[in-house]
Amino acid sequence: MTCNELRERIVDPASASHGGHAPVVVHLEQCAACRAAARDYGALDRLVRTEAPPAPPVDFEAHLRRRLSAARRTTVPIAWLLAGSVAVLALAALAAPRLFRARTSPRPSAPAIAGSLATASAPSREALPPDIVAVRSTPITFQTAPLGDEEKAEASALHDFDFLNSFRTLARLDALFPEPVGPRAPIPVPPAGFPSRPPGSPDAVAGRLLDWQRMAQAERARLSELEQAFRNRPEEERTLLEDRWMLVRGFSEDQRAGLRRLASRIDELDARARDRLESEIRLIGLLPTAQRVSRWRALPFARSLTGQETASAESLLLSR
């Protein structure tokens, strides 16, 4: 064993047992330089160790989150920046006074970390993110006229906006939902009510009013019409649709778009083909979950669908 080999063995305790101790002991007995090195290595090891494990700053995580948030703000894709610029320019004329006011009170920059970790004021994890990333891509709120009592009442009485945008599609997808076998039993309402119902808590109402205030007049009118159309349906059907919504409310925008397209594809079938498809899908719905997708893909109708339509249908079949 050479001096180098011995030193590589003694700096790594795990390797010391490889090849046995005898050669190490023999070498140490014969080599004063390695004995001195062994002594010093041990002393160095103790010097490097600390009595108590060093503790990171208490606000470490808050600093990390703040920096990650700042990094995200600076890496907004160019396309979003361009789109945002256009929107801001278009609205600037309307909102110039407010914008100038805002510039007089700039947001404080994050403090430098060096030497100030312990004293820097750290936002809580729940702190609201900056406006620019607050609500999807359209968070910038410009001064809009305050809502009157009548408008507030109207906005608060509306069902969930996503539900209103989806209930007509849900009504066209009977085949993909469990068939109500007659005589129909009443659909049980969840203890907390259907999530599609109008907002109930003060926080939810406040959020709804903010959304409403931010919304264009035409969009408000469209949602009010949808609400009216929904309320005009029989109560039993309304409950059924709200029950269906519970299955798809977690779907992504893409999946919901797939459902809309799927409903259109089903509408294109003649009555006989539609009846046959509904029967086949209902049979698939009775299969164990693991078998549903393969059976669904074997249907001639499914083979004619786009990937988006197929994926949405499969998500729904598996959610039942």
């Binding site: 002393a43 010097l47 060093p54 470490f60 990390l64 920096r67 060096a114 030497g115």
Partner: protein, 202 residues
Amino acid sequence: MAPPRGGIQLAPDSGDLLLVAAGDSAALGRLVTRWCQPVYAFFERTREPSAAAEAALVTFERLVTTSPRYPPELPFPSFLWRIASKVVQEGNPGEVLDIPGPKLAESPAARTALVRSAIAALPAAERAAFLLMRVARLPAAAAAEALGASEPEVRRRLVRAFDFLRASLVPLLEGSTDSASREAGAEAGVEPSDDTLPGGAP
């Protein structure tokens, strides 16, 4: 609970990093809770606390930004220490502080500063190997994986690091090695004979 499809059971850290890649804030909190201290300690041996915190922040920042590229088959510690090793190697070697002996004798802070400066003065590759194996206490295989080097190479770097520190920290080693012999041998898995003690057998 049934195991995930494919029979792969991800370790909590690996699973949390995949969740971080998907934007899960709570998963990031769990990872920080579990790994903040060892990562901070890793850097704290080479620099003063605020700079160590900064380096640890950079490490976690890179952990998050590279999380979409995390291969689940790689152990999480390897992924994390690989990042930390790169961060610790980025700094140029500094100068070993020249602190008078009396000051070292009376001031623990001065001794700490000298040790830090000596480790920071190591060449980058030796510094990373030393910190991974002697501060983070990684086995040679894990350190080698983090450094992208072979195990023998990592051990050679570690020996070079120890030899450099022996030369840099002479003032601290003098008088501190009287009781070191047995411990050094024990640490290395060796029971030294009496004549390995300083000055030979009593």
